[in-house]
Structures are given as C-alpha cells and as structure tokens.
Amino acid sequence: VGDDAVEHQQGAPADASPSRLSRALVAAAVLGVLGYMTFTAFGFGIEARRAPLVVGVPATVLAAFLLFREVRGTEGRSAAEESLTTTPGAADLSESLNLGADVPEAEGTSVPNVPSPPTSAPSTEQLSTWGAMLWIAGLSALFLATGFLWTTLLFPPIFMWFYGRERWTVIAITTIGVFAVTYLFFIVVLQIQVYRGFLGLPDLEQLLF
C-alpha cells in the first residue's frame, strides 16, 4: 500500500499510519498503567493481591517487551495497514482506490453483490483524529455544564451544522426527533432522574411543557 495514497485518502498523514514514536508512546502508557497497578498491588493484603500480582507481573513484563519492540519498530505492522487489510469496509475502500491492498474476503461473502466504489463519503465530512476527539470533548463539556436534556437539545444541531452543513429542515427534524424519543422513553416511561448540569440552566421540562 502506498503511504501517499493512504494519506491522500485519509486527509491526515499522522492518522493514516501511526508513527513509530506515537506507537512507542502508547506502549509506554500501557506499560505505565500496568506497572503502576502491579506496583500498587504489592501493598494489598495477601488475599487481595494474589490475583492482581498473578496477572500484573507477567502483563507488565510483556508490556515492557512490547515497548522494546515498538521502539525498535519490529512489532507487527502499523494499525493503519492492518485496518486496510483486515477491515472489510476499509478493504472496499482500498479496492476502489486501486491501492492494491491484500484484501481478505469475509468468509462466504459474495463480493460481487457489493458495489465497490464508496458513494457517500464527501471529503467535507472527514476530520482528523484530533478533530473527532474534540467533538467528544465538546460533548462532554456541554453535558457537564448543561446536563442531559439541554445536551440532547443543543448537541445535535451544533454537530449537524458545523460538521455536516446539513440543511435546517434536516437539523430541525432530527433534533426534535431525538429529543422527543429520548424524553419520552427515558424521562416519561422509565422516569429516570437525569443530571442537570453545573450551570443550573432553567429546567427544560418546565420551559417546554
């Protein structure tokens, strides 16, 4: 698979194929978590520490070995390459772009039934990894500040407008639909007491009904 072709498709070189440094950093983070948990487990009582140590010590050793291999660049292929060769959807993508990836066929799947070129992947919707994660961070912040109901009412239109440039009719219908379904199911039927956010915005139920 040509890296250039992958980068062109994904629109973000760093996302298409994680660098050796970033892979090593992730492996170091995993080692850090496992090492910390194992080290902490030594302080537990004999019954409580048995299982964490039995698992933690070999897992930490393996994580250290993994880090060593990631630093040397000898651990497997990059995740992006794997996704191109193991994810059937991605396989279609590479097929359609003539990237020449080694495409595994889902067992018993009749590939001729599947039209190969992707037709609904407008480039305007593609984001970098950081962009996608920022949306999740934004959702978390909105939720923390305004609570469930305001988030249900605010997040869909914001996302649809800024991410997809959807028409206002689509935005309105989707937002009202999502709000109505979640409100009816979770609040009216299941009577869940929802979190209302630290901003203390006016009670949406009282405003609307």
Binding site: D15, S22, V30, L34, T38, T40, G45, E47, A48, A51, P52, V55, G56, A59, L62, R69, E75, G76, R77, A79, E82, T86, T87, P88, A90, A91, D92, P104, A106, E107, T109, V114, P115, S116, P118, T119, S120, A121, S123, T124, E125, Q126, T129, G131, A132, M133, I136, L139, T151, T152, P156, M160, V170, T174, V178, T182, F186, I192, Q193, Y195
Partner: protein
C-alpha cells in the same frame, strides 16, 4: 413425560399467548437501547405482571427474559452499539460486515443463530429435566475456574494483528476487572479513594465507550455512512442468505449452543461470558481463525447462538434448585415466589405443568422473537446508509442516556466517554478491544471461582475428575498442531521431506495448524 408436555401446552391459552407476545415485543424494543438489557426489561414489566393471573404473568416474564438476547443483535451489528453485555461479541464480526454493506445478512445470521440456540436450550432443558440434579451438582467452582482459564488461554485468537498487543490488552482488561472492593476481605483495590470505583468499573458504560463511542469517533473521522458502500447497498437476498448461513455453519451453531447451555448452568457467569467463551472456542476450532474479527459470519453465529441457549441452561438450576443462574433469573425466581410457586424439587413434582409451559415459551418465544426481529432488519439496515452528520448525534446522545440509565450514576457517563477515547486509540494502534473486554468480563469470575475452589478444596481442586478432564482437553487442543505436524513428518517417506513439500498441501496444513 408426554402428559406433562401436553399439560404445559394446554396452559398457553390465547390470553397467555397474547401476554407472551407483549413481553417479547417490549423486551425486543428495550434491549435495542444501549445499556438497557434483559434485566431492565424484566424490571419494567414486573409491575404489570403482578396484576395478572400467575400463569399469564409468568408467561410474560419468561418471554421477556428468554428473548432479550435476540434483539441485541440488531444494534450491535448495524451500529456497533451493544444493547447489553450480551451483544458485545456480535460486534466483533457483525460491525465489519455492516461496514461492507452486509449488515442485513449479518443481523439475519445472528437472529437465526439466536433462535436455533434458544431452541437447543429448550430441548436440553426438556431432556435434562429428569437428570438435572446430578448434572448441576457435578459442576462447581473448580470446573468453572478451569473453563474460564481455557477461555483466557484462547483469548489471543480473538485479537487481530499483533499477538503481543492482544495479550497485553487482555492483561490490561484482567487488571481493570480487579478495580473495586475485593470480595472476601473488602480491601480497596485501585480505587484512588473515589467512591464510584468501590463497585468497580461498570461493564455497560465501559462496553458502550469501547465500541459504540469509539466507532462514532471513527465514523466522524471518515465521514460518509456506516455502510461504506453507501446508498447503493443492495439488501436484496441478504436476509435469506444470512439465515442460510446458520445452516451452512451448523457445526459452529451446535458447538456454541452447547457452550452457552453449559455456561448458563453456572450461576453468575453472565451473557457476556457465554458469548466470549463460545466465540473464542469457535475461533479456535475454525479452519481460518485469523479471519475472526474481520467480518466473518461464523463469528456472529457463534456468539449469538450461545446467548440464547444460555437462557435454557440458566433455567436448569433456577427451576431444579431455586438457584438463579443469572441476574435475570434471580428476578424471575422472585416473581415465581411472589406468584406462590416455589422453584426446587417440589416444582418438578407438583408444578410440572408450569415447567413444561416455560419450556414451550422458550420454543414459541424464540420463534416469535426471531420473526419480530427479522421484520426490523430492513428499516434498521437502511439506517447504516444515513450520513454520519445525521447519525452520530442521536447515537451519542442515546449512548449517554444508556450509560446513565442502568445505575443513575453520573460516573457511568464519564466511564463511557473515557473508554470511548481509549477504545478509539486501541483501534488506531492495533490493540484488541475484544481481548480487553474478555479479560475484564472473565477476570472477576476467574478470581471468584479460584478463591472458592481454594477455600473448598485447596489445591486438590485441580484433581477433581471433570477439572482434570477439562485440563487434559485444553492441553490436547493446544498441543494438537504440534502432534499433527510431528505425526505427518514421521509418516512422510524418508527423502521426500528434505526439500520443500508440495506447496498446496503445506499451505492448507499451515493455515489449519496456526495456533
């Protein structure tokens, strides 16, 4: 026996049947919502059940309980959003198939396997009725400990790409399962004095994060729709093809149904454990284990057949001893008692018609649930062609609600969001999310059964006959590729083996022998 069968069938009057169908429909709708599983559906239906006649109420509750695994398949496969822990393993192969535009086929195969699994569970429940007692007593903590160990050993088969990363992810999952209060001494482990963590990390928000939110991040990043073939996806014939797949892979269906049944008998093992144990076994015994997790229909069949057959198994200790095989069976048991029916040996003598009615409900309930879910496939599958900009917000909002709804704890929402980011990073960097979740699900069970075994038998628990049999079987399975290779090299005539062996034969052997 036949008298009992007919008596049980006679209980299914039109009114009873109507309540059973109501239970099935409500259960199917509830389990589609992320985070709300069969237990939640049971809790919702309990108040209504107690206003009914005992037979009607029991029929409705049993129907709710036994078919909850069927509806799970729809959202797990099509959106990568598991309705409950019992739907996670279906994502591993189902979602990649949906990405390829084969979602309807994958769901149909899953539903078909669920129905067959449910019927197998019912059949075994009927057959095992007279011999339940010795069977249940023969299985204890040591046997389940060894069974879980075997599943963990085979865990690496589930991961794709780097074996080392998969094993490390599994180890991390196991370690995360130890977060919270230790069961026997109440020692706080890895809680950082956070009250929420005293109960450990909750499975439902964790799986919603690892799979649903991570997949939504991926979808945001890529744009387009879930089905990468977009609106041109042809669903024609996919449902029929999916159902035929179940017959074509009858060995996987039978093996996984048996596994689900076996796991169901063990109290407290849970849907997720049944699915993952069946899935790892199917991957291990497959001729092409490397394809598991890439969108292979056998993977969906294996996990879904186990989910519903487990319910038949869970009913065995519930009805025979009054020992619930799962949390939903505990609710069912409480309902039986409230209706004045006391499960246990007496029930098999004085209320045998109720036992047979339950078996019939297993049969009809699974068939009806299968038909209901099949009718949902096409509209749901069409949603996989909807643009990310329209699909992502509703799914994320419902995921947040679903994470929160089970325990009404805000900590669950944060767990879902954090594991969403963790899941996405794992996906990008090639760490298997499935092995992490298998480790997490089985870790707690492993520790509990190990401690129980040690307290009851000491290290001698390894010398119990069934335990030894299981260990021998595991060793044999692990050693089988080496044994076969050695046997074939010994059989090969001298001189023929010095050069490269015939390419075709060797390639196929190598692929089958892959550990």
């Amino acid at each position: 026996m036949f008298d009992g069968m007919l008596e049980g069938l006679a209980q299914l009057t039109p009114e009873v049947f109507a309540y059973m169908i109501l239970g099935i429909i409500v259960s199917t709708i509830i389990v589609i919502i992320p985070g709300l599983g069969g237990l939640f559906a049971l809790a919702v239906m309990l108040p209504l059940a107690f206003t009914l006649e005992p037979v009607q109420g029991i029929a409705m509750l049993v129907a709710v309980s036994v078919v909850s695994g069927t509806g799970n398949t729809i959202t797990s496969v099509l959106f990568g959003v598991p309705g409950s822990p019992g739907g996670v393993a279906s994502i591993l192969d189902g979602y990649p198939m949906a990405r390829k535009g084969l979602g309807a086929r994958a769901v149909a195969a899953g539903i078909g396997a669920s129905v067959v699994g449910g019927l197998v569970g019912a059949a075994f429940l009927a057959v095992l009725l007279p011999v339940m007692r010795p069977l249940v007593l023969a299985l204890g903590a040591p046997e389940f400990f060894v069974m879980i160990m075997i599943a963990l050993i085979f865990m690496a088969y589930v991961g794709q790409g780097s074996l080392l990363r998969s094993i490390v992810a599994g180890g991390l999952g196991l370690m995360l399962s130890f977060v919270g209060l230790e069961q026997s001494t109440a020692t706080q482990r890895f809680t950082f004095d956070v009250l929420y963590l005293w109960n450990g990390i909750q499975l439902v928000p964790m799986m919603i994060g690892l799979f649903a939110i991570a997949e939504m991040i991926e979808l945001m990043k890529q744009g387009g729709s879930i089905s990468q073939t977009g609106a041109k996806t042809s669903m024609k014939g996919q449902v029929g093809q999916g159902l035929r797949d179940v017959g074509r892979h009858w060995k996987t269906t039978a093996q996984s149904s048996a596994t689900g049944l076996w796991v169901g008998i063990a109290p407290g093992m849970g849907d997720a454990a049944a699915q993952f144990i069946a899935y790892t076994q199917a991957a291990r015994s497959s001729k092409h284990p490397e394809k598991f997790g890439t969108g292979i229909v056998e993977g969906i069949i294996a996990s879904d057949a186990a989910t519903n057959s487990k319910e038949g198994g869970a009913l065995i200790p519930t009805l025979a001893f009054g020992i619930p095989g799962s949390s939903s069976m505990a609710v069912l048991l409480a309902a039986f008692v409230a209706f004045g029916i006391r499960p246990g040996a007496d029930m098999l003598v004085s209320n045998v018609h109720i036992v047979w009615m339950i078996i019939w409900i297993l049969v009809f309930g699974n068939l009806i649930a299968g038909l209901v879910c099949l009718s949902f496939i096409k509209p749901f599958a069409k949603l996989t062609t909807v643009r990310a900009s329209v699909l992502v917000p509703p799914i994320l909002v419902i995921c947040l609600f679903g994470s929160y709804a089970t325990t009404n704890n805000i900590g669950d929402v944060w767990v879902a969001l954090v594991f969403g980011l963790v899941g996405y990073l794992m996906k990008v960097y090639g760490y298997s999310r499935a092995t992490l979740l298998i480790g997490f699900v089985l870790g707690e069970l492993l520790e509990r059964n190990y401690l129980l075994s040690m307290r009851l038998f000491g290290l001698e628990f390894l010398l119990r006959p069934i335990t030894m049999g299981l260990i021998a079987l595991a060793v044999f399975i692990l050693a089988w590729p080496v044994i076969r290779r050695t046997y074939r090299s010994l059989r090969r005539p001298k001189g023929a083996g010095s050069g490269a062996p015939p390419a075709e034969t060797d390639t196929s052997e190598a692929s089958q022998d892959r550990p």
